[in-house]
């Protein structure tokens, strides 16, 4: 018994995998960038708070009196930023952990050693989590120091950190589990984010709807289910802690109980993953075996007609690339779920009559545009890197297709894959123009605003795709560049310049431009707020054209640069 218990140390649980993973991860450049960005964001948050104090207060006595409130704001913001960032980072970090071993054909090799599947899974999980805990630890001294100014209960910091760690472990375990059966890291990451979004947001919303509008039977069931869902949702736990500690409400969730529940769920997922890893490893050694349903589907898929190349082969290839899961059943379910969500939102909108309000269309259209731009960015960022990952780029470049044809073909093809979002948005706009809720001027102004956003995002994504080795890296770099351009620079500018030019820099953001357009076309007077002036249709069109030309030029330059770089480092792709 004692010998069994003594075996339960970290090194027995993880074997040599932990050490190997820690060594490998610490050598990756991305880790250093991650740490730098994290510290930069933390510094920025404190900087903004400092700016807020010095700008708005009059006397030093007033500044001191406000100190505890500022500290409370900084602490809450830091804890929430950490809470969100840690979950996203752990998903991204662990999404490639097992599939990389599978496609480098090292998983089967590991199985021939005394290392067992539990050590593989736990080794991978803890190596990723430890690296992120280091990031989490960076902010601890800051929180400890600012506590001196009062306003923060240490219990809040402890509960916030514990909720963050358990949420991180849970998200990490799911990501790890998906990485066993998903070929690409980004697919595992998007599946994890999708599942977490459903568990943390869609499911509670559904329960709330049932509680509100369902029959008595469904309402009772939903209320009972909601009680359980409430305990396993870290967002609710965090929110509950925040509101309680600042006296906005009473604690409704015992965070200790929530953390224990999350740890138990994590253990279940890990046990399932351990079982799957062994299967995957044996499958690799003995030749991949498909499940019964997959076999049936692949058989069915083998018999379907061959697709014929039409038009540009590059665009055709991009359009043929599978979106989401290859599994037809999952694909159908996803489509049904998407349709249900869309119909549900519109149904609720009509039921509660908020769709009859003109202002309600601003967030809806912004959601459509954001989805369209993000989806295009995701597709474009993977265009060249997927060729590198599949090691097909050299053979593609051996064809007489010009660099221009390849870059622009890939760009158009990838952007066309998001066409369905733009079609839905157009239908929405046309319907509500006919209903008299949106001014028809939107049909002229919005395309310019959308194009400025699309061209800058997609050209950066294409540039990253050409220059990075993997799709995950290309997406992460694109997001980082956009965050620097549209979040970091405006904030730093606001802090340094304190006024002049800030508005101009803020309005350079295509999403802000879109907001101005939408605000204008949903008010009766068709006036648009550019800087502090109110301009009419022509003024707004001119302003949009100005940014449209600038962004088109910048986008074109980046695409030309991508063409130039396409044939450089062809063979530097990550070897699978």
């Amino acid at each position: 018994m004692i010998s069994k218990i003594s075996k339960l140390n970290l090194f027995y649980l993880t074997g040599p995998i932990l050490e190997k993973e820690m060594t490998v991860r610490s050598r990756r450049k991305g880790m250093y960038w991650q740490r730098f960005m994290y510290i930069a964001i933390l510094t920025l948050i404190i900087g903004i708070a400092g700016y807020a104090i010095s700008e708005r207060s009059i006397s030093s006595a007033f500044q001191i009196s406000r100190m505890s409130a500022i500290v409370a704001t900084i602490t809450t913001t830091l804890l929430w930023v950490q809470f969100l960032a840690m979950q996203l980072l752990v998903v991204s970090t662990l999404s490639t952990s097992i599939n990389e071993e599978i496609y480098r054909k090292t998983l089967g090799v590991l199985m021939t050693t005394p290392i067992n599947s539990m050590q593989i899974v736990l080794g991978k999980l803890f190596s990723g989590v430890f690296q992120l805990l280091l990031l989490l630890a960076i902010s601890m001294p800051i929180l400890a120091i600012i506590r001196v100014y009062g306003g923060v209960d240490i219990g809040y910091v402890i509960s916030g950190v514990c909720i963050t760690i358990t949420a991180m472990l849970f998200a990490g375990a799911i990501s790890l589990s998906f990485s066993v059966k998903t070929r690409r890291g980004r697919d595992a990451a998007s599946k994890t984010v999708g599942l977490l979004a459903i568990a943390y947001w869609v499911l509670p919303m559904l329960m709330m709807l049932l509680m509100q509008f369902g029959s008595r039977f469904w309402s009772v069931i939903a209320t009972k289910l909601m009680a359980y869902i409430y305990y396993v949702n870290p967002f609710f736990a965090m929110q509950s802690e925040t509101t309680n500690k600042f006296g906005f409400g009473a604690t409704t969730i015992q965070w200790q109980f929530h953390c224990l529940t999350m740890l138990a769920l994590t253990t279940v997922i890990l046990a399932y993953t351990i079982k799957r890893v062994r299967k995957a490893a044996l499958g690799q050694i003995n030749g991949a075996e498909h499940g019964k349903i997959e076999k049936l589907l692949s058989k069915k898929s083998d018999n379907r007609d061959l697709r014929t190349v039409k038009g540009s082969p590059i665009i055709w290839k991009e359009l043929m690339a599978p979106q989401g899961s290859k599994n037809k059943l999952v694909k159908k379910l996803t489509r049904i779920l998407t349709a249900l969500v869309i119909f549900g939102i519109y149904g609720l909108g009509f039921y509660f009559e908020w769709l009859y309000e003109a202002e309600a269309h601003i967030p809806i259209i912004i959601i459509y545009v954001s989805l369209g731009i993000l989806s295009s960015m995701n597709n474009v960022a993977g265009t060249i890197t997927t060729e590198k990952e599949a090691r097909t780029l050299p053979i593609l470049l051996c064809s007489p297709l010009s660099n221009r044809h390849i870059i622009f073909g890939k760009l158009i093809g990838a952007m066309r894959r998001s066409l369905w979002i733009w079609i839905l948005m157009t239908i929405h706009i046309i319907v509500f123009i006919l209903a008299g809720k949106i001014n028809p001027a939107i049909l002229i102004l919005l395309p310019f605003a959308i194009f400025t956003g699309l061209i800058v995002t997609c050209s950066i994504a294409m540039h990253c795709s050409v220059n990075r080795k993997s799709t995950s890296s290309a997406i992460n770099t694109t997001v980082a560049v956009l965050a620097v351009l549209y979040i970091l620079i405006p904030i730093i500018w606001a802090l340094i310049a304190r006024g002049p030019g800030t508005e101009f820099i803020l309005q350079a953001n295509p999403m802000v431009l879109m907001g101005i357009v939408l605000e204008g076309v949903t008010n009766d007077s068709l006036r648009f707020r550019v800087f502090d002036n109110s301009v009419g249709f022509n003024g707004m069109l001119g302003y949009l054209l100005f940014w449209f030309i600038i962004y088109s030029f910048l986008g074109y330059l980046l695409l030309v640069l991508s063409q130039e770089n396409l044939r450089k480092n062809i063979f530097s792709a990550a070897k699978k």
């Binding site: 697709r307 190349v309 082969p313 590059i314 290859k326 780029l393 050299p394 593609l396 007489p400 063979f571």
Partner: protein, 309 residues
Amino acid sequence: MIETKNLTKYYGSLAALQNLDLHIGAGEIFGFIGPNGAGKTTSMRILATLLDQTSGTAFIDGMNVNKNGKKIRKLVGYMPDFMGVYDDLKVFEYLEFFAAAFSIERKQRKSIVQGVLELTDLQGKSHAAVDSLSRGMQQRLGLARVLIHDPKVLILDEPASGLDPRARIEIRGLLRELKNMGKTIMISSHILSELEEICDQVGIIECGQLVFNGSMEDIRQKMGVNRKVRVQVADGQKDIAVKLLNNIEDIENINTENSHIAITLRETKKNEGIIAKTLVNGDINIISIEPEQLNLDDAFLHLTKGLVN
């Protein structure tokens, strides 16, 4: 058809290729042999317009590869040393995609794709997903892909690596068929014996430098293989036979090995007929006279020094 002059490629301070001079005639099969890291792949990538050389020039069909990239790509079919696959395409779709990439008209694509599938014996696999094919099948598909635009020149980087003996024999047969179709083929391998039967010319490269360039016959000459003969005579007659053979001026050296007598003829005299004549005249019962076979492994070791970049 293919010509390189002082072709040099540096990766930082590492010389992957140093003053490589090659000349491959039209319709020839050129075997490019060398150990791993010798510079074979680098040379082929330069010829396939995928890599720029540091100095020197390379020509295909009289055109400079650096200045006529697009024209060269139409002329050349390049098969890399790894098989990149689009896992979302089927065999027919994969080939049709490349047919479209080579601007083959839509009406002709189907028949061309079927033609290359037939040539590479992949007709039965046209509906199979590319990533479900075995290694040998994928190599064949790679060959089918390079043939899709009917190129004059084929550059094949280790097409038989990792294949089983049957698949290797099949690939060799396919290459012979392609040679008969008039294609110029440059094929690399790190195993000399693999190319022996099919190559007109062989280039042996080591540490980025060409250490040998010539035909298989030239290798035999260089190894002195044509001058070596093994004779077996009846029991008890070996010593008499050696005495008789010692009298022949054209013989440079005689060694007895178990039941055989190994004879090395002088370089200028290559007529082994004199051995049979002398032994018959001396009433020796000859069981066999055979020229010594070229041991390609020995030849490779003889021609290279085992240096690695």
